[in-house]
């Protein structure tokens, strides 16, 4: 794109701005930005609470552009992806999206992401982190082209109970008929837009994909269309709260991507991360399969589980013990939150066998800093099923549109 050619050299502009920047900048009242995948993006616009409640009670808009996107095409595109990821991609029909993970040879997670099957032989792979080297090395022996298209697709995530109503007000007729993980194509003011019923909040929601040139006008139209439905731009912090409630894991927080970890033993398998439902050992060979078959035979030594912790103090980074006296360490918490919607003190943590079984009791050692004085609390926790928050409307089609 000519854009890239006109840009100052990278050392003069270490972070890029997204096509929505003029708008997101204007909406930011507290000037709290954060670097994400090479872009400057909003961490908080106003207050985290306000933004969080927009996700749960109305409609939130999140600038998703930095999400790394790879376009995968060619004769072997399906076989290529099927060998790359743990799910059976052959069962993903054109016009559908699948959430999946992919592993290295040891069966350890490299990343998770979504696979959009746009056409029979055209896919879009969306991931949190860049990994072109892995994707290209995976292409050896396959007739495919893998191209990073992050910059040429602008994206917004529209999440919350009124998100469908907003899209209808925007003029996307029939959008309510999209089933979860469906992809639809729409024309908005003469411009093409792709809409998928996907998201990272565990609720009704959509992701909008467009060319960067249309970004600003789509934003402006959305704000007008959503005014009466409580639309509000949200930053990464509010989204992080919602994703913990939805039980989604984050690289570098809940696991270290296998190809990026340097210490032996830091890799985590899908089984350990509670993602066995994504692993299809019967579909034929895929990366890490032999290691996963062996692991399945051995049985899991530890597992990432949901925890419900007594009290209301988030158990951030707490160590977990089998006993209240904190003598036998059995794991640690990677994400924690007082959930405003569930009214529960929830957490995701990696727990050793056999303590990871649902219903088991564990003890979290929580340190609280209260005006520079440290307090130590040992709170009881119980292993519970995820997700913590799963409203029925997330799956209902036609979607809620009032």
């Amino acid at each position: 794109m000519s854009d890239a050619a006109n840009r100052p050299p990278h050392f003069k502009q270490p972070l890029l701005t997204t096509p929505f920047h003029s708008r997101t900048r204007a909406c930011s009242t507290v000037d709290q930005f954060v670097a994400w995948a090479g872009y400057t993006t909003v961490d908080v616009y106003t207050t985290v609470e306000q933004e969080y409640f927009a996700i749960r009670n109305a409609c939130s808009v999140y600038d998703l552009t930095p999400m790394v996107k790879y376009r995968i095409t060619g004769k072997d595109a399906e076989n290529y992806l099927n060998r790359l990821v743990t799910r059976d991609v052959r069962r993903v029909k054109p016009g559908r999206v699948a959430y999946s993970v992919w592993c290295n040879d040891d069966g350890h997670l490299i990343d998770d992401g979504t696979i959009f099957r746009l056409e029979t032989g055209e896919f879009l792979l969306c991931t949190a982190a860049r990994q072109l080297d892995w994707l290209l090395d995976s292409a050896i022996g396959f007739d495919v082209a893998v191209e990073e298209v992050t910059e040429s697709i602008a994206a917004l995530s529209l999440q919350g109970p009124t998100s469908c109503a907003v899209l209808k007000a925007l003029g996307l007729r029939g959008v309510e008929r999209l089933r979860p993980f469906d992809i639809g194509r729409f024309v908005l003011g003469g411009a093409d837009m792709t809409v998928s019923r996907t998201g990272f909040t565990g609720d009704l929601g959509y992701e909008l994909w467009m060319t960067p040139a249309d970004a600003v006008s789509v934003w402006d139209r959305l704000m007008i269309a959503g005014a009466s439905s409580g639309i509000r731009p949200i930053g990464s912090q509010a989204l992080d709260m919602a994703r913990i409630e939805a039980g989604f894991i984050m690289p570098n927080i809940d696991f270290v991507p296998a190809e990026a970890s340097v210490r032996i033993g830091r890799g985590r398998s899908p089984f350990e991360l509670g993602l066995e439902w994504l692993v299809d050992l019967k579909k034929g060979h895929f990366n890490g399969r032999r290691a996963l078959v062996a692991e399945q035979k051995r049985g899991a030594a530890r597992r990432l589980v949901g925890l419900d912790i007594d009290g209301n103090k988030p158990a951030l980074k707490a160590l977990l013990y089998a006993d209240k006296s904190c003598r036998r360490e059995i794991g640690a918490i990677s994400s924690a939150l007082w959930s405003p919607t569930c009214k529960r003190n929830i957490a995701l943590g990696l727990v050793d066998a056999p303590y990871f079984e649902t219903g088991r009791q564990v003890w979290a050692e929580i340190y609280l800093c209260r005006e520079l004085e440290w307090e130590r609390r040992v709170a009881r926790g119980v292993v519970v099923e995820k997700p913590f928050y799963a409203p029925a409307r997330r799956k209902v089609t036609p979607a809620w549109d009032r």
Binding site: N104, I140, G141, F142, G288
Partner: protein
């Protein structure tokens, strides 16, 4: 379909044949499938001009262990030597040639003659301790199995048993380059170069490249205990060795099919279950053993879809491009090497007058060019074997270093120039040679790839260097002659202990298959 074979060997190179022979002798039902019209792979004899035959790739037998010859009864199956214990003559443009093993000759000083025998004794001692490694399956680290732990202990003991000074000396020199080592030891430029030449023959190294002491010791280790007193020429060329191996395998019950190219390994339920031939025929086998190079084996015959990305990446990065070319000349008379009568031609002649000559020859290839003045290993098979050419006529066979796998200008544009340079270089030592040439053939590494099906055309199917050596050869995940796929094995030069017509890869692999099958 008939009952599945116990083992199907893809490729009838000398290692594939050896592997098949040992498996058949163990009572297994074995089938060898060779793509070419004859067995032997890079150990073959073929004609290159009407009436002239040559060992088209490997031309000297110097590493095949006597025990394989005995085990398989190769002499009974037709192996005859036309020449044994061949000396090495380093050609001089003027003045006396250097003859090795050294006597007081060739202008060598008395000190150098002594220094040479001291040096060789020292190196042979190290080589003797490395030797047992060659005929064993290398251990794997971190498995904790008794077999691997035992093998590691044996290895440590082998080195420890050199004694304190010996071990210290070995550990000092093993990572060094030959250039520095021979400079420490001798004064004669020709002697230094002749010794260093053996370290770089068939490699992507010059004498100054690190790790060349390892390649030298390794070659020496393989030569110790070899038949034919190390340097030998089979009657009828290297094809005789392969034919004898094939006969031995067949006598033990193995079936061999030539002109049978394997297209794919058949995989079911994540294990190898046979092969699919290029003509569409499928053949079932419970073990499939590949004699082809690692890249061909994994990326073409098995296919990346059956492998993990990390493993495929390692195979893709396996350094397997050759830097060695081959030249064959059909001559109307004996080549007129200065001061060498026909008896003198029953030797291994080398062109490596000084270390800097060889190093300079190597330099060109860093920039994608061939050596303007190449180093060479020359034999005149017809000096000891009349079956290779019409009466009174001769064949010259030369291994030529260095020639890049792909030339920056494209081989088709420069191949004739390179051949001219090679002939000119030989003519420096054999004035009048050009007038005797009836036909000439040059095989670049790219031609070797095409003719012998060795991807990259490398002598060892892949560089023999520290990072592609022993326990990690060819790459982690494909060591111990095994592969990530159940039932699929390797037996070629890409595995331990590497190339050279030796047969140990084939024999070690057979042992490993039998162990797994048990």
């Amino acid at each position: 379909m008939t009952a599945p074979y116990h083992s199907i060997v893809i490729g009838g190179g000398h290692n594939g044949l050896t592997c098949a022979a040992y498996l058949a002798r163990a009572g297994k039902r074995v089938l060898v499938l060779e793509a070419a019209d004859r067995v032997g792979g890079a150990a073959v004899t073929r004609s290159f001009a009407p009436g002239f035959k040559v060992s088209a790739c490997a031309h000297l037998l110097h590493q095949m262990p006597q025990d394989i010859i005995t085990d398989l009864g190769l002499i009974r199956h037709g192996l005859v030597f036309a020449a044994e214990a061949m000396p090495t003559i380093s050609l001089a443009a003027d003045g006396p040639h250097l003859r090795l093993p050294a006597r007081v000759n060739g202008g060598l000083s008395g000190e150098d003659v002594t220094a040479y025998s001291t040096f060789m004794a020292r190196m042979r001692r190290f080589a003797a301790h490395l030797r047992p490694m060659l005929s064993r399956t290398p251990p794997r680290l971190g498995t904790g199995t008794a077999a691997d732990n035992g093998a590691l202990l044996r290895l440590a003991w082998e080195i420890r048993s050199l004694g304190r000074t010996g071990m210290r000396d070995l550990l000092r020199i093993i990572g060094m380059n030959m250039y520095d080592l021979v400079e420490e030891c001798f004064a004669s430029p020709a002697l230094r170069a002749a010794v260093a030449f053996d370290a770089v023959l068939g490699t992507n190294f010059g004498p100054r490249s690190p790790g060349t002491v390892l390649t030298f010791l390794y070659r020496l280790a393989a030569e110790s205990g070899a038949c034919g007193a190390a340097m030998a020429q089979p009657r009828g060329g290297m094809g005789t060795v392969s034919d004898a191996l094939a006969a031995a395998a067949q006598a033990a019950g193995a079936e061999i099919r030539v002109a049978a190219r394997v297209a794919r390994v058949a995989v079911r339920d994540d294990r190898a279950v046979g092969v699919l031939l290029a003509d569409g025929e499928t053949i079932a086998g419970r073990h499939v053993i590949s004699n082809a190079d690692p890249r061909t084996t994994f990326l073409n015959l098995l296919g990346a879809e059956h492998l993990d990305t990390g493993f495929v990446r390692r195979i893709d990065h396996f350094r397997q491009r050759g830097l060695t070319a081959k030249v064959h000349l059909a001559l109307s008379a004996a080549p007129p090497f200065r001061d060498l009568a026909l008896a003198g031609l029953r030797s291994r002649m080398i062109i490596a007058p000084s270390l800097s000559y060889v190093e300079t020859a190597f330099n060109a290839t860093k920039y994608g060019d061939y050596s303007a003045s190449p180093a060479m290993e020359i034999v005149v098979p017809t000096a000891s074997d009349a079956t290779m050419a019409p009466a009174a006529q001769h064949v010259l066979s030369a291994v030529v270093q260095y020639a890049p796998y792909s030339h920056t200008d494209g081989w088709s544009a420069v191949k004739q120039n390179f051949l001219d340079r090679i002939i000119e270089t030989i003519e420096t030592y054999a004035p009048g040679l050009r007038g005797l040439i009836i036909a000439a053939e040059l095989l670049t590494p790219a031609d070797i790839e095409t003719e012998f099906g060795i991807s990259g055309g490398h002598w060892h199917h892949g560089e023999l260097a520290f990072d592609q050596f022993f326990m990690v050869r060819p790459v982690p995940g494909a060591t111990q002659y095994e592969s990530p796929l159940e039932g699929f094995f390797l037996c070629g030069a890409g595995s331990h202990p590497g190339g050279g017509v030796m047969g140990l890869g084939g024999r070690n692999a057979a042992r490993q298959v039998l162990k797994k099958a048990a």
